[in-house]
Symmetry: C2
Subunit: 81 residues, 2 copies
């Protein structure tokens, strides 16, 4: 069966996020006050063939560890649709 997997990869707390900082500085210039703690990460969507929901999840988690995320500085969340 084919499953739609969504993976959100965010920098861990405490890891500097230059993209987020740039957005945070740009927003007041455009007239948006009151925005804090901007963090920018990746969202990855893919279709995966697997025998079950659980197998799809465990395969995608393994892919995160090996390719999709850098577990030293990033955390990830997998959801299987």
């Amino acid at each position: 069966m084919s499953y739609l997997a969504r993976v959100d990869v965010m920098l861990k707390p405490g890891i500097s996020d230059p993209q987020g900082q740039t957005i945070e500085r740009a927003l007041p210039v455009l007239g948006y006050a009151g925005v804090r703690e901007v963090r920018v990460g990746k969202r990855i969507e893919l279709q995966i063939e697997a025998a079950s929901h659980d197998e799809a999840r465990s395969k995608v988690e393994e892919m995160c560890e090996r390719l999709l995320a850098n577990p030293v500085i990033e955390s990830y969340e997998v959801s299987i649709g």
Copy 2:
């Protein structure tokens, strides 16, 4: 009140996604077969001050149109927590 906003920005269907293609080519080499349609987008998280849930959503949607996404080639989804 402060709201946590999550924004997912993905390339529209039909727009070429070189990051996704690179991942799709790398996965079989690492032993993961059966993965298709890999798409890579951005996830942005931020804290926003607003008077209501609706105001927070409409502010963040406006930010997407003006700064966070490129509406010509990207679509976005906003969720307010």
